[in-house]
Each structure stands twice: as C-alpha cells, then as structure tokens.
C-alpha cells in the first residue's frame, strides 16, 4: 500500500462517510473537511518520498484487472503528477472551508451530497494524475465527468442544467474520440508485441516508433480530448458556462485542477507517445494556443459576469500553457508545468475572492458593483493581490513561470511568443480593470446601493449606515491565507516546485527529441 | 424425422422413383387436366345457358334475400362480427391436424424402411400435436353451445 494509493482511497472513504450524513449539514462539512485535511497531510510524505533524480515513475503499484487485454490497476507519479496532486489536495479543503459562508447551495440541497461528490471528484482526479495504465487513465478520465456533472447540474446557478449537460457532452465526446486512439495504440502494441498491453511505458516505447501517418491520427484523438479539457479555442465554449454556473468551490476545482488534466495529458501522453506527430502538428497546436490567448483576453473584456470573466481569462492562460508545452524547450515546459500550479493557486484565489464579493453583493454582474473597497478594504486587498498574481506581477508566483515560458518560446517560436505576450498583457489589463471597476471609485451599483441589493445593502452614500456589508470574516481569511502564503512564497522561492518538475520535463522532452529523430 | 433422413438415402428414394417409372412430369397429369376441362366446360356451359333458356318474370320480392318472408337483415359478413369465432377456431384446429396428416402420409409410405426409430419419432410427433388438442378440449374449445 503506497502513500499514493492511500491518497486515492482516503477521499473515497470520506465521500462514503459524508454521504451517510445527509441530514446534518454542519457535521457533514466538518467530516469532509477532516478527510480533506488528512488527504492534504498525506501529500507531505508523498512529496518527501519523491526523489527528483529517481525513476521516471515512483510510488508505483500495479494489480491485474482485465488479463485478456493486459489491463492493470497501475498507479505511479512523476514530478508533474506530484505537483498537480498536491494542488488539488490543497484546494479541496479550502473549497470545503468556504462552503456555507461564501458558497451557498441552492435551497433544498443538502451539503452531504455536495461534499461527497466533491471528495469523489478529488479522488478520481488524483487517480487520473497518478494512473500509469492508459486504459485506467481513460476510465478515470471519463468517470471523472460524472461527479462534476452532478456538482454543476445539481448545485449550480439558475442556468445549471444547460451548463452541466454542455460540459458533459463536450468532455464525453472528446473522451470517446480519445478512446478510439487508446484502442488504436493498443492494437499497434498488440501487433508489435504479440499480446496487447496498456502499460504506459510499454505503449510509449512501441507507439513512438509508429509511422508518422498512424501517429498523427492517434495523436489527434488524444489531442482532441485534452484540448476539450484544457479548453483550447475553438473547443472552449463549455468552460464559461460551466464555470459561470458552478458554485464557487466547484469552479475553483474545475478551473484550478480539472482543466489541468488536459495540459497534463499533453505532457504525459501526446508528447511521449507520438513525438513525430507532436512535432509535425506543433504549428497547429501553437496557433490554437495563441489564438486562445488572444481570444480569451479579448472576450474577457466584454464579460459582464465576473465568473465568466475569470473563465475567459483562464482560457487565455491555458493557451499560454499549451504554448509553453509545444515550444519544445526545457524552460518553456518547466514554465508551463509550474504555470499549471501557479495558475491554480492564483485563479483559485481570484475565484474565491470573487465568490466572496458575490456572496456580499448577491449579484455576479460587474456593473452592479463599484467602490466596494470602501466598504470592505480587506476584501479589496485580497482581490488586488489575486489579480496581480493572475497577471503575473514580479514577486508573485506566476511571474516565474510566465517568464520561463516566454524565454523558452522565444528561442524556438518567436512569432507565437510575441503574440502570446500581447495577449497576456491584455489579460492583465482586464484583470486590473475588473478590480478597478468593482473596488475603486465611489460606492455605487445595485448590488451595494439601493433596492437592487441584498438585505444588507447600504442606502445612498450620504446617509451613513455602512454596517450591512461586512468585511472578510476570519474564516474567509483563514481560507485565503494559505493561498496568499504560497503565492508570495513561490513567487520569491520557486525552487522546490521547479526542482521536482524539471527531471520529468526533461525526460518528456528527450523522448520527444529521440522520437523525432527516428 | 424427415429432416433426420440422411441425404444419401433421400437420393436413393429419388432414383428408385425415377427407374420405377414414376415420372412425375407434367404430362402425367394431362388426362386429369382433360377431365377437369370437360367437367368445367360442362358446368360453365350450363351456367351460361340457364339464363338464356329460362323465362324471366321480374319481381322485386324474388331478388330479396330469402328469409322466410321476414324483413331482410342487413348484408351479412360486412362490418364483421357476424361470423362466430367458433368457425375460425375450427379452421385453425383443422390446419393443425391437416399438417399432422401431411407428415403422417410420408411416414406411412416410408414406415417400413425407417422402422422402429421412425415409429418412436412419429409417436413423439403425434403426442406433440395432441398436447394443444388436449388443451383446447379441456378449455372448452371444442364445445359448440
């Protein structure tokens, strides 16, 4: 029983436990929180036990599942998986923490269901990152949709059904097309080795020798699924709806971790398994990526809804990550991987803060706010910090990654790099503009003033009473604190993450190179 | 049991039929056709001739359906439901046994050559036919009330 398995199973146990306590929301929340904390603690030995210089895969464990097809329950982590697992293990307790204060469930829904689904989601996501059997990966990749579907569909905003179904169908279709490629690679391996297997390493070694034509088709299958997950234009349209309708916590998990499965997939599957095809199709991917950057940042400008706004900004960021991955330089890829982590932290914090704002104003429309910082200076500060982190101000964590990506991209693909920088700047501007619109200036907006606002809305500014809208509660601060710490900390001292990630990235890249030379 | 008959033996039967002069060709039936033609011709002739030789005295009462003088009921068989189900049922039962006969004749002809096995088979067959027969009997299907 490796730490990894424990890490996968523990949330499941927690989910089962929580599902029992449907009646009592408070108790359910506490239990879930406990379990998620335990999970987080389990990450410590995992991280400690991982030697960056060691094998490609560590903490491995394997159990036979379907012998006829050489399918195993095989888990194991490399650096990239490790950091992503760490991120989700961190985010889930925070999300649970804001439940009830920032995050209100629609009436008539019990917290028990929500939390158990959340924990199941966590365990599945960890499994997806940890799977070293392609079939197992696919299975988890698809099953992962179900809890998220219910989380959005059952606990989301007014338009949740549409969002949930859209999310599900997009990802399901992508997944099915990936299934074709999965089976295709299996068949290749079966023809090569005599009897088929789904073991990742074996498949990589076999499939990467396949002729270019085959590689391209199989690559496209995987790529499509991942491009849906890590929304690359034009497959992104589900994300704004999903993120916009999902409850804050779910949005955090969705944007923060779930979508990273896509970029993770690029690194873990597309590149090593189909090196030639990746190189061949890199221009296409890069075009999409840059298009995503520009498109996301441009559309972000037009958004009236804060959550949708963040979604579009994230689309831009994902484009940026993809750019880094397909630039095929070590810096760029290390940058991308660290950017995956940092983006999770920064955007996660931004969403949480926005959630807090919405919880106060009772509206997610930007124009309903104005000068909120006067009422809630602390919250304003948080939002500023989160915003700066998102636009990768030097000193925040994202800066390092973004810098690395650009550095790497410039040597290989200057044009794309330049365009991408343009997009990122735009995005940054919009984030600041959001902050400025919501927090700065005189107190205005229906959410805060007059009839349109919630029960605690202030009257006109000249009549004094400003008590109604409270500033961040200690609990909210407690939730945000670890994020702040990490953002600042990793901004100043990114080494731990970089060190963990680099060997895996180099391994991936070398695979690409030698695969490409053949 | 017929399907159990090996093809080889089947051909035997065929060849024997051939050399036994049982030429089941169309010509064999020519006389029958002639006889049919003759009798049909006769019947047709009389059907046609009758209206020509007979007298005609029109009377609306004559052409009404004869119901012993009571006023005629509507045209039968149209609209359905006039024919008691019983008759359909008899028809179905007839089909059942007709099929049984269809199988018993070939058996009877070939009985000696297929011997005991054939007998057992045909007994099973008859029993199989008897089962629905018994069912219908017991459920009153054969009662005319």
């Amino acid at each position: 029983m490796t730490w990894l398995l424990a890490l996968i199973l523990l949330p499941l146990v927690g989910a089962a436990a929580v599902a029992g306590l449907r009646g009592n929301d408070r108790l359910a929340t506490l239990t879930a929180f406990g379990f998620s904390l335990a999970t987080l603690l389990l990450v410590v030995p995992l991280w400690a036990g991982y030697e960056p210089a060691g094998d490609r895969m560590q903490q491995t464990s394997s159990v036979e599942w379907i012998p006829q097809f050489g399918i195993h329950f095989a888990f194991g982590i490399d650096g990239i998986a490790l950091v992503m697992i760490a991120v989700i293990a961190l985010l889930v307790p925070l999300v649970i923490g804001v439940l009830g204060v920032t995050d209100k469930l629609p009436e008539g829904r019990s917290a028990g269901g929500y939390l158990s689904l959340l924990l199941v989601q966590q365990s599945l996501t960890i499994g997806v990152f940890a799977a070293t059997d392609v079939f197992l990966f696919y299975v988890l990749f698809e099953v992962m949709l179900i809890p998220m579907y219910f989380l959005i569909g059952a606990y989301g905003g007014p338009n949740r059904q549409y969002a949930a179904v859209k999310f599900f169908l997009y990802s399901f279709l992508g997944g099915l097309i990936m299934l074709a490629s999965v089976i295709g690679s299996y068949v290749l391996a079966a023809d090569e080795l005599g009897e088929g297997t789904f073991d990742w390493a074996t498949l990589v070694s076999v499939v990467s020798d396949a002729p270019l034509g085959t590689q391209v088709w199989l690559f496209l299958g995987f790529f499509l699924a991942f491009a849906v997950k890590a929304p690359l234009v034009p497959l992104h349209t589900w994300l704004p709806d999903a993120a916009g309708q999902a409850p804050i916590g779910v949005a955090v998990v969705l944007v923060g971790v779930l979508d990273k499965v896509g970029t993770f997939g690029f690194l873990r599957y597309c590149l090593p398994m189909f090196p030639a095809a990746s190189v061949e199709l890199a221009p296409l991917v890069l075009t999409l990526a840059v298009a995503g950057v520009l498109y996301g940042s441009v559309l972000a400008a037009g958004q009236q809804d804060m959550k949708r706004f963040i979604a579009y900004v994230s689309i831009a960021h994902f484009g940026f990550i993809a750019l880094g991955i397909f630039a095929f330089t070590t810096q760029a890829q290390v940058g991308s991987v660290t950017y995956m982590v940092n983006h999770s932290l920064a955007t996660g914090m931004l969403i949480l803060v926005v959630g807090m704002v919405i919880a106060r104003g009772g509206s997610s429309t930007i124009s309903d706010y104005g000068g909120m910082a006067k009422l809630t200076p602390l919250l304003g500060g948080m939002m500023l910090l989160a915003g700066l982190a998102t636009l990768a101000l030097p000193g925040t964590n994202a800066f390092v990654s973004e810098f690395l990506v650009l550095l790497g991209a410039f040597e290989s693909r200057p044009v794309f790099a330049v365009l991408a920088v343009l997009g990122m700047v735009l995005a940054a501007v919009y984030v600041l503009w959001l902050y400025q619109r919501v927090m700065q200036g005189p107190v205005r907006g229906d959410a805060l003033v007059g009839a349109g606002g919630g029960p605690g809305a202030v009257q006109a500014p000249e009549t004094g009473a400003r008590k109604a809208i409270r500033d961040t509660s200690p609990r909210e601060l407690a939730v945000l604190a670890p994020l702040i710490v990490l953002i600042i900390g990793l901004g100043l001292y990114p080494k731990p993450v970089v060190d963990v990630v680099t060997p895996s990235v180099e391994a991936t890249l070398s695979a690409v190179q030698e695969g490409d030379e053949r | 049991m017929l399907e159990a008959e090996p093809a080889a033996a089947a051909t035997d039967v065929w060849h024997f039929a051939q050399e036994a002069g049982v030429t089941s060709s169309v010509e064999t039936y020519l006389p029958l056709v002639l006889l049919l033609a003759l009798s049909t011709g006769f019947a047709l002739f009389s059907v046609v001739i009758a209206p020509l030789v007979g007298p005609k005295r029109y009377n609306s009462a004559k052409v009404e359906p004869y119901e012993c003088g009571i006023e005629a009921s509507p045209q039968p068989v149209v609209g359905g439901g006039r024919i008691p189900v019983k008759f359909y049922l008899t028809g179905m039962l007839f089909i059942l046994f007709d099929i049984e006969m269809v199988f018993l004749y070939p058996y009877a002809v070939a009985a000696d050559s297929i011997g005991l096995f054939g007998f057992v088979a045909v007994t099973i067959f008859i029993v199989a036919i008897t089962v629905p027969y018994v069912y219908e009997w017991a459920r009153g299907g054969l009662e005319w009330d």
């Binding site: - | 609209g79 179905m92 089909i95 059942l96 099929i99 199988f103």
Partner: protein, 99 residues
Amino acid sequence: MTPEYYLLLSALLFSIGAVGVLVRRNAIVVFMCIELMLNSVNLSLVTFARIEGTLDGQVMAFFVMVVAAAEVVVGLAIIMSIFRTRRSASIDDTNLLKY
C-alpha cells in the same frame, strides 16, 4: 419444360406478394400476400430440388408449409382479436402507434 421458368414464376409471385404487403392496407390482405410469398418460396424450393436431383428441397417445402400454417393460426388469432376490438382490419385504422 425447363425448371428456370418455375424459378422465374416463383420470383414473380414473391415480388407480387412483397409489393402487396407494401401497398395493401387491409391486414388480412397483407397477411395473404405474405402467405403468397411463402408459397412462392415453396415453388422454388421444389424446383431446385428437381434441379439438384435430391429430395431435400421437397422436405423443406413440407416444413415451410408447416410454418406457414402456424403463422396462419397465430396471425388469424391476433388479427381477429384486434378486429373484434375495433371492428376494422385496416392497418391505417391502427393509429395509436405511428406506423
């Protein structure tokens, strides 16, 4: 008289039956068309048996007759039941389901 003519005849009968099934709307008539199809098959079976010089085809014809008879029984029963229920044997009148 060459057997091919019989084959052609049976094909013709079969087609007539098929067309009848498709165009006629009275359940009984459709049903009779189906019987026509089955019997045309019998004709070709016997013809083939004659061509092959084996009896298998004739034996098959027996079985087909049996099946046809069984179909008659079942079919009549079903059609009759619905007929008694709704006083019409026209398929078009069976309008509760999309045809």
